[in-house]
Amino acid sequence: MNDDELKHALRQWKAPDAPASLERRVLREPWWRWLLTGSVRVPVPALIAAAVLVVSLYAVRTQRLPISCASGVGSMKYVAMVVCHAPSHYSTDSVM
């Protein structure tokens, strides 16, 4: 393979031009423009983990709501029982 043939072969391998994201990174446009046009690269495992976390939190929250109501009623009952069956020395007379 002579010099010309080698040169010709080497020219077959093309490289891409700089992507637009390089310009954004180097010239640092205002932050509000980034909010309109920017993109974020997120690793897939992190994305899956975040999605699982959000779904789990939502599921736990929706399941807890009735329980918290019941426990609220229970604690009110308990308070009522304490008040009803309080020993005599806790009576309002002795406090007063």
Partner: protein
């Protein structure tokens, strides 16, 4: 260097610096990082015209970033490898074969070849960018071309058969 000068320099050289980084790193993401660092070093450090051409400076900065990455990945151990022989590439299209052969070159041979063949830098500019003597650059370039001739010889045979 003010902001307008920097922007003009970026517009003029961004593609060449990115292409060089891309050919050296095999990765668009790494190439973008390298090109960004090269331009940021220009922005932070400025440029003195007595140091030669601006593009030579930028290629040098990009080359240092590539070298740093390779060193971190412990892949720069055998920089030049006089005795290194690129295996012959066969069964590829021409562009894929050339890519495989160039990427198989030892880094110091690859960088001078890329700067010479793809970015058309003179020997003096390459020497300044890679921090070596012109004679050393010539010698690396010669070895790189010899390696590529050997590696790409199957292509020549295929092309002759097609004719």
């Amino acid at each position: 260097m003010d902001r307008d000068e920097f922007r003009a320099a970026f517009e003029l050289h961004k593609n060449a610096v990115y292409r060089f980084a891309w050919r050296m790193t095999n990765s668009p993401e790494a190439a973008e990082d390298v090109a960004q660092e090269a331009f940021l070093s220009l922005w932070k450090g400025g440029f003195d015209t007595s140091r030669g051409e601006l593009r030579g400076y930028l290629f040098g900065a990009a080359r240092n970033q590539v070298r740093k990455r390779w060193r971190d990945a412990s892949r720069w151990a055998e920089l030049d490898e006089d005795a290194f022989v690129v295996p012959a590439v066969d069964g590829f299209e021409t562009s894929e074969a050339v890519e495989a052969a160039v990427r198989a070159l030892p880094p110091l041979q690859r960088e001078v070849l890329v700067l010479s063949e793809y970015e058309d830098l003179s020997l003096e500019e390459i020497a300044r960018a890679v921090g070596a003597e012109v004679g050393t650059v010539k010698s690396r370039l010669f070895r790189a071309r010899e390696n590529l001739r050997r590696a790409l010889s199957p292509l020549r045979e295929v092309n002759h058969e097609r004719r």
